[in-house]
Symmetry: C2
Subunit: 342 residues, 2 copies
């Protein structure tokens, strides 16, 4: 008998929940000046980590996060059956090159900035379905690699739009498996792509807000829960523009997200860090979930969190061709470790 219960079309409930055996987050130097720096496992001293390019450095952030998470889980790469990873670079080379180094059977996954939650969903399903004993899921992004790929090399000094978000530099990784200890993955809601016709890549928060709202409302409907059933609903990364918009959209659906509604893109940087609308990038929600959030779930300070990572699924090519920006949001419920103190 399966220990997985399907609810509605988009959701599954894990009745014998997989757990997070280890997680790690490594921030870039600028992220190390942010309010969550103390919860990171490491903060890089420079943007390059000794590599010859920003793209190679992004790969190092990913590899190091995986190695740290494995160490915390007391496992080696050889014991892992699936490496699930994704990033923002063309053809996902960060993940591909990390997979080459790690030597773990590999599937690339793509959901732009929603990839962190996608990896947790898929990893939890593989463990719950007894398809794997141990899975590693990881993401990374690099501000300087993303800027020159998506927009302009930062050396040009092009002025940023006030609604623009700041691609985070860093890496995050989770090791999933079975165990009595560890934060539990108890349910997942897979997102349907939403597109309300917004075309401005300098305002991705507004483009992504409807996707977050859609996945959230389906999650509550499928599971028969309401916002108050969660200690925290954490989107990532809608930023300062998209986050209030998601709240507004859900209000129209008679869902009040209340006080315990936050966003990884808002949390990652201090207001005076001048990132405009907040953080973004595959690493942004991954880093917050793998560090700050893990600590609070491990301690029992938070008991039940709905983590909803959002992604803008466009490319520079589709933007230049005049297309709008399809977006998706992937949700996963994280519950405090059983041994956690109340």
């Amino acid at each position: 008998m399966s220990t997985v219960r399907r609810e509605g079309r988009q959701s599954v409930v894990f009745e014998d929940p997989p757990v997070i055996l280890g997680s790690a987050a490594i921030g870039g130097p600028f992220e190390g000046q942010g309010p969550l720096a103390d919860s990171f496992d490491q903060v890089a001293e420079d943007e390059l980590l000794g590599a010859s390019s920003f793209e190679r450095a992004e790969c190092l952030f990913l590899e190091r996060a995986v190695e740290l998470a494995l160490k915390k889980a007391h496992l080696t790469a050889q014991q892992i059956q699936h490496f699930l990873a994704g990033d923002l670079l063309d053809q996902m080379v960060t993940s591909n090159f990390a997979a080459r180094r790690l030597g773990i059977p590999y599937w690339g996954i793509y959901g732009a900035c929603s990839t962190s939650a996608l990896g947790l969903q898929l990893g939890a399903m593989l463990v719950a379905g007894e398809l794997a004993e141990y899975v590693v899921s990881a993401t990374a992004s690099h501000h300087l690699a993303a800027e020159r790929q998506y927009r302009f090399p930062v050396e040009l000094g092009v002025q940023r739009n006030p609604t623009a978000q700041w691609t985070a530099t860093g890496g995050s990784a989770f090791v999933l498996g079975r165990g009595k200890n560890g934060v539990r993955l108890t349910a997942a809601t897979v997102g349907v792509v939403q597109d309300l016709g917004l075309k401005d890549p300098n305002n991705m928060g507004a483009a992504m807000a409807p996707a977050a709202a859609d996945t959230l409302s389906h999650h509550f409907e499928d599971l028969g829960t309401k916002p108050a059933d969660y200690d925290l609903i954490l989107t990532g990364d809608l930023g300062r523009v998209g986050h209030p918009l998601a709240r507004e959209i859900l209000k129209e659906h008679h869902l009040d997200l209340g006080e315990h509604f936050d966003d990884c893109g808002i949390m990652l940087y201090r207001p005076q860090q001048d990132v405009h609308a907040g953080g973004s990038g595959t690493a942004c929600s991954g880093m917050v979930a793998a560090s700050w959030l893990q600590h609070r779930l491990q301690s029992g300070e938070l008991r039940r969190v709905l983590f909803v990572a959002t992604g803008a699924l466009h490319s520079p090519t589709t933007y230049q061709q005049g297309e709008s920006i399809p977006c998706v949001a992937q949700a996963i419920v994280l519950e405090a470790a059983q041994e956690a103190k109340r």
Copy 2:
């Protein structure tokens, strides 16, 4: 009790196998001049399908393949729980935009030209693990979109290298689920990335051959099978350079692949079509598997096939930065429908 048996680190056996409820392949006009054209569901009359760009056309190939496969499976998009899709364009926009149109809960998957088998592996696991009732897995590629992204716009008329492969134009889709009829997915072997240091993107067959050999040898070891246990071992897409190399590498491991060893990249075009080393692209192996191979498994002409799609996981950026080409191969065993005549 799970109906999935893990074998070794890389393989799973589906003891109650998911089946292919419907599949479809749509070829471009050039692919329609190839030897497999009769087995395609549709051949496009032109490269654009009425779209304003090659990139938009690629998306139409994907959407139409999915719609046809759903029709054959007597299912609607609304009945599907997971849409798994991948392609070669930056940020996987073909798949993302198709997901927007189809409205099925979506995960992007990336394995370059191995994506077709990755989708079958993951889809089979989701069905076998009771995580989904119905899954659609799909891929597409477009010669004219890929050339201008990876190499040069074809309008430039740059001469192609004799070892270069030809990115196929087309789309392919599979609908997976439970059923007594239909080709069965009985085992999967997930690939580990291999990289022997080759750096020439105009000779990807040679770069991918070691990955194919590695996944094949692990498959035989994990399952305790030998090449002669399969009516056909079908790689995709090593082409005329990579395919004999994979045979050579396996010979060194005392594995003789015998006569029943073929390659989607070699099969897709006629020698006089001047594609040099053969076909490639996410659609290449997908189209062959969704049409020619399906027909032979449905009729019982082939009983048990090991399908091993190969992917080169580089990008134009990594090539320009002097990196070598990491490659992966994903394997899945397809067995004749139970009702198939011998």
